[in-house]
């Protein structure tokens, strides 16, 4: 096991995670993955279904512990965290974006964006105040009080991005953020995520099937059967696109 990579926000070092499968078989969901993300860096994680992408996200979020290997956040091993420290890590350091948004129906955008601050005992008034700049930042300044059913799919995902950023995390974990959107809206959401990541110097681990993701990523990693089969810089064409969008 190697020593921490200097400047890395998230670092996976030989991480292994197994699940019991049918008939006593062992499913090697993540099998010796080594990966590092720096501040402001976007890494797109590709791979077919069942390749271990979501498991890697959960390991990064300290929602599960690896069977072997080490996951580090800013040089600190996540496996050594107590449950309270893990909750603190999730609350303060990471932001999550889901494919299906997970917004509360009937609740205004501003309160949906502020919801995770409530778990940290921030009064609602302050939480709303904290969420407004982020909603403005994602282009929803005029839709603060719109409920999810009054927003388009792309707008909903923007609310989810604002929610992920409201605690000013160092790391964003995005699970198929464009999975429920059409190509144009997906592209817009990715561009927005990319721009914010760079401006705020947030590391983004982007699990996706979307080929557009390569356009905004700095690196594209591919998982297959739990193994990292490639970890390459994004193509040059993508860099141009990135410049254009970013």
């Amino acid at each position: 096991m190697s020593s921490p990579v200097r400047g890395a926000v998230l670092e996976c070092d030989g991480v292994v995670k197994h699940y019991p499968g049918f008939g006593g078989e062992v499913v090697r969901a993540v099998d010796g993955v080594t990966l590092a993300l720096g501040a402001g860096e976007i890494v797109a994680l590709h791979g077919p279904s069942g390749s271990g992408k979501s498991t890697l996200l959960m390991l990064a979020a300290a929602l599960m512990a690896p069977d072997a290997g080490v996951v580090r956040f800013q040089g600190r091993e996540l496996t050594s965290l107590s449950p309270a420290q893990a909750a603190n890590y999730q609350r303060r350091e990471i932001g999550f974006i889901f494919q299906s948004f997970h917004l509360m129906a009937g609740v205004p955008a501003v309160e949906n964006a502020a919801i995770k601050l409530l778990a940290d005992r921030v009064p609602l008034k302050h939480a709303r105040r904290a969420a407004i700049p982020w909603l403005e930042r994602v282009g929803l300044a005029g839709r603060l009080n719109h409920t999810p059913d009054q927003l388009s799919g792309g707008e909903r995902q923007r609310v989810a991005i604002a929610r992920a950023l409201v605690n000013e995390p160092r790391l964003i974990l995005a699970d198929e953020p464009t999975g429920s959107l059409d190509t144009q809206r997906g592209g817009e959401v990715l561009a927005l995520l990319s721009a914010i990541a760079r401006q705020q110097q947030v590391a983004v681990l982007l699990v996706t099937h979307d080929p557009q993701a390569a356009a905004v990523a700095d690196r594209v990693c591919t998982l297959r059967d739990g193994r990292l089969v490639s970890d390459e810089p994004a193509p040059a064409s993508s860099a141009l696109l990135r410049q254009a969008w970013g």
């Binding site: 959960m58 979020a61 929602l63 599960m64 889901f98 509360m104 409530l118 778990a119 005992r121 009064p123």
Partner: protein
């Protein structure tokens, strides 16, 4: 879509959503069970009595009936038999009596006696009694009576060899009699469940001291001759006997139990609404999934009417199965918990104890269950509108019509208010329009729920703003917005359950308080009473000649008055007659007086020629205080003036109080139905009671009670008679709490994915439990408060109905503690049931949020 296609889609649904379907089925089954059980229990009283009356009367269509328990001369039989058009005539002598069996076990019974001619009427009951048994000097017991006396009951047979003996107490006499046969349901059907005894006519005449007397003669007429026979019988009766249909007792019983039937009918209504809401709640859980299926199928070209057929087919399948289960559960309930035969009626009517399931309750409950399921399954059909075809795909988070804006809430509230005014207004003029008022109030309660819910949410929001410690309440309030329709439906269920429980239980308590006060006052005229065993109303008469003087000589006794009473059929009602001595200190219970002056009425009663009547009885005869009312007495019609009107004194058909001299003259009897014993000042009442009992001797069929014991006995009888109301209330509370808990629990389970998302947003399981608890308390509390408010008003209406329409004494009293108890019981009950699914849901693994 073919039938096989419908089956395929339903099979697929059952495989993928078995828990949802099960929950929906449970909700519907609970509603059907409640409605069915209450209806069956209600109708069983009259249906069982009907079976007995018709089973004895057989082919007889008319009867000549005595107006008192002394009966009339049996020679009348020969004159009846000689009337043209009469094919059969059978005499019966009936008395209320007691039997004492093994170990001193007492059973109050109806003693019926007849000769072989009764068997010739070919009644379904009497045809099974053998001529041999009916000629033996002893009693034939139905199985239920034998069981109560500790005698062997099966197999049904004549008891040969050395028959067991029991003590028969009747008309103040006690005799040892043989049990010649015990008959079960296979022999005498409905009668086997009755508390009764059958014996040969001559035998009963001898043991009762009523030699040569009969109570009635059942008459079978030649076809087409009924009218002429009736005229002949009327002439023969000469105004001193009653000519009536052979099954007149059923009509009189139906009249007597009408208030009870109406009161429990109210429960049927509440149960039906709760059942419908439970079904609606349960079906709401399936709405998102059904909407998605509709959208999928529409996009694949399935036509709207085919989807309607599919949804209705699925709803009908669920409705049929759940309703059948509900009927089975309801059947068990009606035979166990709700199976109460009101003993207070036994003194006046032949009562059966068996449960009789009629076709009407069966069909009403079943059809209601299926219809409610179809109605509850309808919301997804909104997506069939042209503009909503793929809403389920693009707006999958919500439910159709989930948001009600403030204006709509206000409109609904106003509509509720108007409905209350419109439906309870008529009560001022027509107190019997209670059912309309109750339905209006129940619907108004439902209409007020959105507004009440909004108010509670606003209050809770203000509370939550006070401290960040209440952030979980804030999150809960946001979560409730996501499930508005479901939350409203749940709150409405709670509201209707609390409404029903508060109205029923509080009115029930008022009635019990009123009855207890009435009885306490009624028996307070003497410290000690001598009555036939178990005779709470003092209507079984016994020869008192000599007995008054004998008891008066007991040490500690200051004086003894003969009290007379019984039942008299007046204008289709079996009225309770109370005849009190002029020297009785307070012959009219002052608290029960409705019109008239107590002092003047008492003075007139003592003077004679005057009586008090229950107001309802006066009203149906268009009589007022100071006017006259003619009673069909055993000596013929006698007009009495009305000194005052009273409540019904606890007897639903009404009561009359008159002077004992008037009674003796009109009834032509000096027999008493009780002795009122005054004790000397300073005498120990318990010691006097023991001394009187001793003076009566061990062989006496009479029992001695203090006035307190008599009041307690009457109170116990009233509680037993009204116990079904309490039982239904309790069951309603349990069912509502369970069903709401199940619906909330299932809703929580469906939301596990969003709960998992909250966990990823670093909400701890403890915080999630806080959110879920706050949500549940808000929903249940809103329903409880709305239901309680409506319940207090409904209680007021119900008491008015009880006092004005039924004539029962029911002083209104708000029972705040009980109302709060009801809300707390339902809310806490539901929360306790919810604790397990809530705990499990709060432990949801966060990764679940990534798995959709």
């Amino acid at each position: 879509m073919r039938f096989s296609g419908l089956l395929y889609f339903y099979g697929r649904r059952l495989r993928t959503r078995p828990v949802q379907e099960l929950l929906a089925g449970v909700g519907i089954a609970i509603g059907v069970a409640l409605v069915f059980a209450v209806q069956v229990a209600n109708s069983s009283i009259t249906d069982a009595s009907n079976a007995i009356v018709r089973g004895i009367a057989g082919t007889a269509s008319l009867q000549l009936r005595a107006r008192d328990s002394d009966g009339f001369d049996e020679h009348m039989l020969a004159r009846v038999q000689r009337l043209p058009g009469v094919s059969e005539a059978a005499p019966i002598l009936e008395q209320t009596a007691s039997l004492v069996g093994r170990g001193g076990r007492h059973a109050a019974i109806a003693l019926g006696s007849a000769g072989p001619s009764l068997i010739s009427l070919d009644g379904s009951i009497t045809r099974s009694i053998s001529l041999h048994d009916l000629s033996m000097p002893g009693v034939i017991l139905p199985a239920a009576t034998a069981r109560a006396l500790g005698l062997p009951t099966s197999p049904s047979q004549s008891v040969g060899g050395h028959p067991p003996r029991v003590t028969l107490q009747v008309r103040g006499r006690a005799s040892r009699v043989a049990v010649v046969a015990v008959l079960g349901p296979e022999a005498i059907g409905a009668l086997s469940g009755s508390m009764a005894a059958i014996a040969p006519l001559a035998f009963v005449q001898r043991v009762t001291g009523l030699q040569g007397r009969v109570s009635r003669i059942l008459v079978t007429t030649i076809p087409g001759q009924q009218s002429s026979v009736r005229r002949e019988l009327t002439a023969l009766a000469a105004g001193r006997l009653t000519v009536a249909p052979a099954d007149q007792d059923i009509t009189l019983l139906e009249q007597a139990v009408a208030p009870n039937t109406e009161a429990t009918g109210f429960f049927v209504l509440v149960s039906a609404i709760v059942g419908l809401l439970l079904a609606f709640n349960a079906m709401l859980l399936t709405v998102p999934e059904r909407r998605r299926v509709i959208a999928d199928l529409r996009m694949q070209g399935v036509r709207p009417w085919q989807l309607v057929r599919m949804l209705l087919f699925q709803a009908a399948c669920l409705g049929v199965v759940a309703s059948l289960v509900g009927l089975a559960v309801g059947d068990v309930l009606s035979r166990t918990i709700f199976h109460v035969t009101p003993s207070y009626l036994a003194a006046a009517f032949p009562l059966g104890t068996q449960t009789v399931i009629g076709l009407r309750p069966l069909l009403v409950s079943f059809a209601g269950g299926v219809l409610a399921t179809c109605l509850a399954a309808a919301p997804p059909l909104l997506d069939l509108r042209r503009s909503r075809a793929v809403d389920a795909v693009y707006f999958e988070d919500g439910e159709p019509g989930q948001a009600l804006d403030g204006r709509a809430q206000l409109r609904l509230l106003l509509a509720g208010g108007v409905l209350i005014v419109l439906t309870s207004g008529p009560l001022i003029f027509w107190p019997s329009s209670i059912v309309l008022a109750t339905v209006g109030l129940a619907v108004a309660t439902l209409l007020s729920i959105p507004f009440a819910f909004q108010m509670v949410v606003r209050l809770a929001e203000r509370l939550a703003a006070y401290s960040s410690r209440l952030n979980m309440l804030t999150v809960a309030l946001r979560a409730l917005r996501a499930t508005t329709v479901r939350s409203l439906a749940l709150a409405a269920t709670g509201a209707i359950a609390v409404f029903g429980c508060v109205v029923a239980e509080d009115s029930h308590n008022d009635l019990l308080h009123g009855l207890y006060r009435d009885y306490s006052e009624y028996v307070s005229t003497a410290e000690v009473w001598v009555v036939s065993h178990g005779d709470a109303l003092a209507t079984s008469s016994f020869p008192a000649r000599g007995l008054v003087a004998h008891v008066a000589s007991v040490p500690g006794v200051a004086g003894v008055r003969a009290y007379q009473g019984g039942f008299l059929d007046v204008d289709g009602r079996r009225v309770w007659i109370i005849a009190r001595a002029a020297s009785a200190p307070a012959p009219i219970p002052a608290s029960q007086l409705l019109e008239g002056d107590i002092a003047a009425a008492t003075e007139r009663l003592r003077k004679g020629g005057w009586m008090t009547v229950s107001r309802r009885l006066a009203e149906v005869n268009h009589a007022t205080v100071g006017g006259t009312l003619t009673l069909p007495t055993p000596s013929g019609p006698v007009a009495y003036r009305i000194a005052a009107t009273t409540t019904n004194l606890g007897w639903s058909s009404g009561a009359i109080i008159l002077n004992d001299s008037d009674y003796r003259r009109a009834w032509r009897t000096s027999d008493a139905s009780a002795l009122e014993v005054d004790t000397r000042p300073g005498a120990d009442i318990a010691a006097v009671k023991r001394a009187v009992q001793g003076a009566l001797g061990p062989g006496s069929a009479l029992t001695v009670q203090t006035s307190g014991e008599r009041a307690a006995q009457a109170d116990a009888l009233a509680r037993q008679g009204l116990s079904r109301m309490s039982q239904i209330t309790s069951l309603l509370m349990v069912a509502a709490a369970l069903a709401m808990a199940a619906a909330i629990g299932a809703g929580i389970w469906q939301r596990r994915s969003s709960l998992a998302a909250l966990r990823i947003h670093s909400f701890s399981p403890w915080q999630l439990r806080g959110v879920l608890t706050c949500e549940s308390v808000l929903v249940l509390g809103t329903g409880g408060l709305a239901g309680a408010a409506a319940g207090v008003y409904g209680h007021l209406l119900c008491d008015r109905y009880l006092r004005l329409t039924t004539g029962f004494p029911a002083p209104f009293a708000v029972e705040g503690v009980h109302t709060i108890q009801t809300i707390v019981l339902i809310v806490v009950g539901a929360l306790v049931v919810l604790a397990v699914p809530g705990y499990v849901a709060s432990q949801v693994p966060p990764q679940l949020a990534l798995q959709d």
